[in-house]
């Protein structure tokens, strides 16, 4: 019997909202959006946690500007606060080494991290999902009780085709979808809005491609002033949060 299964929701039970940022598709901005969401919540005085569930390609630590932080042991492990966000990532343990894993190992890693991480009294937990619908996603769907999904896509039929797979999966399981966020728009297009309408999903708005963003990755103060962040803040403010 796996002793971790019974404890996972115990660890999360005092959290008000658990928001998983997903897409199914890679490279659409899940990590930058989930990290920014956590930073914005925290700026708005919410105690916020961020969990990077992309074990094989974690990037939230780069966006957050993590350095050599490491969790402390206290009846479990406590996520260090980085730019006031309580942050947990496999990065602490692997640093920049590749972590090739078979599915069952991904499942094990998921369970272990969630069983031992003490989020204390955070109000929001943001989860940065990996691409695909594999073990991480299936474990999230299976083991985390209350959760809402924020879908991210680019306005491309290649993205939407893959996003649609995650959406179908979530709808079949009646898992709440907060809405769909269009990212990296480079020209007028209504395919995402149309898709949202047709599938009865809340269309949250779009974020234009921001050419300046690359140079502010990891520089939180400047990053928080980019158009990307301002656009995201406006959408989140109007549509879902704070």
């Amino acid at each position: 019997m796996d002793p971790r299964l019974s404890i996972i929701n115990e660890r999360l039970k005092n959290i008000e909202r658990i928001i998983a940022v997903g897409s199914g598709k890679g490279g659409v901005g899940k990590s930058i959006i989930s990290t920014t969401l956590a930073l914005l919540l925290s700026k708005n005085n919410k105690l916020t946690g961020l969990f990077d569930l992309d074990f094989q390609g974690p990037t939230c630590h780069l966006i957050l500007g993590a350095k050599d932080e490491f969790p402390t042991e206290e009846k479990g492990i406590k996520p260090p606060q980085i730019n006031s966000v309580y942050f947990m990532s496999i990065y602490y343990f692997t640093r920049d080494n590749p972590l090739p894993l078979r599915g069952w190992e991904v499942t094990n890693l998921f369970r272990e991290l969630l069983a031992i991480t003490r989020w204390d009294n955070i109000e929001y937990l943001i989860i940065d999902m990996p691409p695909g619908v594999g073990d991480e996603v299936l474990e999230l769907l299976k083991l985390i009780n209350k959760k809402e999904i924020l879908i991210v896509t680019t306005p491309s039929i290649l993205s939407l085709n893959t996003v649609d797979k995650l959406v179908k999966l979530l709808k079949n399981l009646n898992i709440p979808i907060i809405g769909i966020l269009e990212n990296m728009r480079v020209q007028p297009s209504d395919i995402v809005k149309k898709y949202a309408l047709e599938n009865k999903i809340n269309y949250l708005g779009y974020i234009p491609f921001d050419y300046s963003i690359e140079k502010y990755i990891g520089e939180i103060n400047l990053f928080m002033k980019t158009k990307f962040v301002l656009n995201l803040e406006k959408i989140l403010h109007e549509k879902i949060l704070f």
């Binding site: 019997m1 796996d2 002793p3 971790r4 299964l5 019974s6 404890i7 115990e10 969790p71 042991e73 206290e74 009846k75 479990g76 492990i77 496999i90 602490y92 343990f93 692997t94 080494n97 590749p98 972590l99 090739p100 894993l101 078979r102 190992e105 991904v106 094990n108 890693l109 272990e112 991290l113 069983a115 031992i116 003490r118």
Partner: protein, 133 residues
């Protein structure tokens, strides 16, 4: 002492599983790879038993040696000796999350990181025996 968190999982699982039935004994396997501090783990189990009015419950801990097998060349080997030689950061990381070992350990025969933990990964409830069973 993150061992406390694992002990909580063990106690909570036993409690949920037993419901109202009387348990005679529980066998918990402790995989060597995770290098659990047994004294701390026992201490945590004892404290948690008290908190949950399970004082008389007997939990037997069995250490399971770590045995690895390369999925590419098939080489199988005991990892017990190697555990002592790991550098501190790697040892601590594996202690928290055993799977992290895939980032650091390679097959001594073919160099692949595609390695299966045949035995001795971490904490596992092997058996719950009810009274009169």
């Amino acid at each position: 002492m993150h061992e406390w968190a694992l002990a909580e999982g063990v106690i909570k699982t036993i409690k949920e599983y037993s419901k109202d039935k009387k348990i005679e004994k529980v066998v918990v396997k402790i995989g060597e790879l995770q290098q659990i501090d047994i004294d701390i783990f026992k201490f945590a189990l004892d404290e948690l038993k008290k908190e949950n009015s399970m004082n008389k419950l007997s939990i037997i801990l069995e250490i399971e040696p770590a045995v690895l097998k390369c999925r590419v060349c098939g080489k199988t080997w005991s990892f017990s000796e190697n555990l002592k030689e790991l550098d501190d950061f790697i040892a601590e990381s594996i202690h928290f999350v055993p799977e992290v070992f895939h980032a650091f350990i390679k097959c001594p025969n073919c160099g692949s990181p595609d390695i299966d933990i045949l035995k001795g990964r971490g904490v596992w409830i092997e058996k719950i025996k009810f009274k009169g069973e």
